[in-house]
Subunit: 257 residues, 6 copies
């Protein structure tokens, strides 16, 4: 099932973020049971040269591969989709004009002006034009005060399937520290405004979260919630295992770790 | 502090295993606080082409980089050390002759016949011959019935700093299922025999474990205990975060994950 | 002989397209006898990190390496030329302003504003400024209705050596299915208009084709015709060999392939 | 279906060889309909660093990935299987002792002494020990006069599923030019002897061939026949398309290609 | 010590340029004693896929890693800083608007609009927002007649720490041959004007030089002077060693090298 | 001209060593005018995955590519030659049996048992069997006391074209510090014995040297002398340029570098 089918069926979706350029950890993450696996080429240590193999690994692992591009630029959006990504997350979309540019880059004419040449999807789908039309998710990011002030202008651009909130950038833009600033009215109101706007326009609201925050975000109405990330999960797992290992070592070793 | 200094000071050491060919996750793992970080070129999805950068990343992260080679072969042992590894774990050493070959590959003459050309250590250490002599840890693996039957022959080879037990291979060799077969007398007796042998010969006993098993292994006398691994920790972390995320979703979504 | 010398001598040129990031298949393709070998960084599964070695392989194989960039962006055009490409194909040039930007990116001052630093050509040519001036081919793509409506504005920009038609994008822009729509007057007229425009302005008309279509395209006046591509040729070759192999297997095997 | 299941069901199998280190062409080849796809790490321009991703690509493409190792060496055979290969082709097996070494490297105890740590199969199969036991194909190569003189000694080693003939090496060993020397009694008799030996011992005979030779090889009794290879098919395809393109150019161009 | 601390302390800084995508030569260069090591992604044969490891290598070697981006584009500037670069050199900044764009890309709000997600710095610095604010150097390039004519407009943009002159591009823009055109009044006056402008605005003037030119550039007032580069130094070293080697060979060999 | 032609014509040959896995610096080194360029896979930070492209780069640069393998192992020797190397340097050949193994790995039957499959030479040479027979240089290393004591046994093995002395390993084996120990009679006598032995058997004596040592080595009778290496030359060049830059800075800066 694709993300768009999931959303059309009324399902909420939980995802995982990849920051490490590895088709090995990508396959492992794809097998972990998330509804989407996002290759982060903006802040992750990944670029196009790694993503072709990572999309293969995610597809093999039964995941739905999407990708975040470094910037709202037609060249990399086209390459990302030609590599077989089922969707594209585009950072820092603050105006209607920028949102229209996202759609132009993502959709074939007449809806947009994406150039034809789907080198990897060609191997996988019988009718790529239809597949792209029905499956590829266009997901601009809403993460600044400016974007919120242009919310209806942005969300009313035809062809936007979902938007995605970057809480750290949103917080900075609001004059707060980067992070999830739940409890601060500026932050809480911004999230509420975004969800409300999405409902007005039939757009799926998405957001970056943590495992612990996910239930709250779903209650707030977000339907595309990223739960964790590859390097973050590894770091959590390493720390947890090391703490377990050390727990009982105090009696047998005088080493202070 | 090097592993050998640690051991000479009477410290137990806890380590982490790397199976993913990435200098990014290697730096993250090196910063997690383990006493050694082992690049696994035997069963990990890693070979020499990745390890040069991984050693750099581990050194940058303040970790002690060692490596497991695919097999007891002088070429790859030499390349591993020339890449700057502080030690080498060599699988399936079952006889005294094989142990002597490990030492020949690891040590410069007259102790062995390692070839001179430490391309990466040359950048980092003022006197590489002394550094190699005093710091590099030679660590054959003891993981079969045959090796245990030759234990004193192996452990008495001059130049062995530690040995390392692979519990899965040991179990298979004992006719058990691969894994930690604690409670099975065959397995328990084998571990006890290895630790006892190491004590007789002044060799550090090491073993692959888990966070939960580590305290027991330390109590059993193992002094080099691998707690977890990169991909394993990531998988544990992903599953844990996803479970947390789903815990409260039951009320807001009818989706069966 | 360079492409521009070929064209100046009145020769038609037949080329091959590369979509696979490999210096091995690039050398093989370069030795196959085509007049140019184009590294496709737009729709091919290739980016800059692979193209440096591919240019070396093509030069070694005696081919003329050119490249298609992902988009009309000065950074990647500069890197492509600094990697030693003899020419650059730039997608989706629809206006005179966009064509002028191509020239600015491709030519040193005063003709343009390319930045100096030809790291790879420096190794190969004695006088790089002259070499670049006389050899590098600037090849904007004409592949939309908008571009055809601006044809004279585009073709009259000084410094354009050739243009290149992407038939799939042209067809989509014309409201047709992606592909070669020969026989459809919209498509046929568009090609004729482009060739006629090129003749008016002394610009070489180029187009993406197939082996079978090439003779017709040459008759239509195209002088830079891409005959096939690496992955496509491999797929054709595999299918052909497998069919040959199976042809006589029917009697000796009841397997339905 | 695995190769061994294919063979056990009485099916002949046709395969393709990969010499290019690319997960892109590997996926394309896997989708071409062959019964196995062999990653050639001996003569192909491929080593372990590329094969992990190539196995992923072949699995994604629905192919059965096997691999040829550079030499009969336990380290690389283990790494190849840990990367998820369904079988391993081992060159230059000339004696029973060498054949026994192949089996030791390929099989877990008690059948052999492969070390446990299936990093990639772990992601894909629920019970890896059973999967390995039932699916992995051990395929020594018979390609010298010496091997033929030891044929029964080799083929009677327990655990050999198939053997594979390298016709070029066989010809050289016979004192002929490298290649398929059909018609030369030395060569014909050698193939016949190998097929007869395989039938005596219940081992599947395999051989490297071409599309045109495949029907004959199947008639001779070979049941694992490699039809073509990635680079070879590309070269054939390029030459064929270029010839088609040039066929009709003679009238429109005075260029002698 | 960071570059900005160096400059604030009144120190002149001498640097080295890297054009080769290698973490091995990067570590060697970092250990050579320069005040900064610049990874050149514009004219060097390097892109993002290599720079993550190169930054690790430079940090390990005790150097200060900065990077030149291919163009003034927010996506790559963000990725460069997220990879852990301590500064960014941005080519061809000719107007105040372009300089403001550099600052927007380099600085977090409210000074700019860099997006939050410092994947590699996160591992290394406790407070990344403060670290970025105090350490990261924004360095636009001044290298055209147009830029000089807009000098005060550019240099007065808040947040510029230094500017960097590319002498080859400056010369071309002045109508001269690419290179250091010392003695030509056009060139000399341009350098003098840039240094004077920098002093008016409290901006550090930087320039690309050679070992021999460095003393003069320091006397002219430049405070960030690049002395040489990896490939250039290698070429110089190779030629010098070969000349030494050949010097005495004339008597023992009749070979004309 | 090939190395063997050079030697047959009575020419001495001067070479360069590569330790960095880069096709960019390889091309630059190949253009520097040496008679051979050796890719060092033993002590260099290079393995097979990089050498295919490096051989292409060296061929493009007009150099003669040879390679040192990590160990005397048939698999890697075969891969090195299949990658297009014109010769192979094999470390630590101490006995006649080991020397015979080198020849078996390097030569096709009947002279040896190299397996047929020259994937890269196939693209470059019309008759690969003849080319290999006449051009490929087999070069065992003589670098221990044991080897010298077996000198005539080794040098009389048919098919050895040259031998190569590693002075550091030779010194260690002689009980000296690693390096060129000219003046120590043990070292001097060893070199003299090797040259004398080579003359008895018509084998070319080679040795690792420096620019300054080369004339002496040629006088001593060595005819294959490696003058310098990529990383070494870079380090020399960087230090020299930095010293030049600093030389005149003392008056203008109080900074102690």
């Amino acid at each position: 099932m694709s993300l768009r089918q999931d959303w059309d069926s009324g399902n909420d979706t939980l995802g995982v973020w990849l920051s490490n350029a590895s088709s090995v950890s990508a396959e492992a993450a794809a097998r972990a049971g998330f509804d989407y696996v996002c290759i982060d080429m903006q802040h992750g240590a990944i670029d196009y040269s790694s993503m072709v193999g990572m999309v293969q690994a995610i597809e093999l692992g039964g995941g739905v591969p999407i990708a975040r591009v470094p910037w709202n630029e037609p060249g990399i959006i086209g390459k990302t989709l030609d590599a077989g990504s089922h969707g594209v997350v585009v950072p820092m979309v603050n105006t209607r004009e920028q949102a229209e540019s996202v759609i132009r880059s993502c959709r074939y004419a007449p809806a947009g002006s994406r150039s034809w040449g789907p080198v990897m999807p060609n191997m996988r789908h019988a009718d790529n034009r239809t597949w792209a039309h029905e499956y590829i998710a266009c997901i601009p990011m809403i993460e600044t005060v400016e974007a919120i002030s242009n919310l209806d202008d942005i969300l009313s651009v035809p062809g936007i399937d979902a938007i995605y909130v970057g809480p750290a950038d949103l917080s900075i833009s609001l004059g707060l520290e980067p992070g999830n600033q739940d409890g601060d009215p500026l932050f809480d109101d911004a999230l509420a405004a975004i969800v409300a706007g999405c409902r007005r326009h039939g757009v799926v609201p998405g957001i970056h979260a943590t495992g612990a925050l996910t239930p709250k975000r779903l209650e707030q109405g977000f339907r595309m919630v990223t739960v964790t990330a590859d390097l973050l999960a590894m770091t959590i797992g390493l720390a947890s295992e090391l703490a377990t290992a050390r727990g009982a070592t105090s009696g047998t070793s005088d080493r202070m770790y």
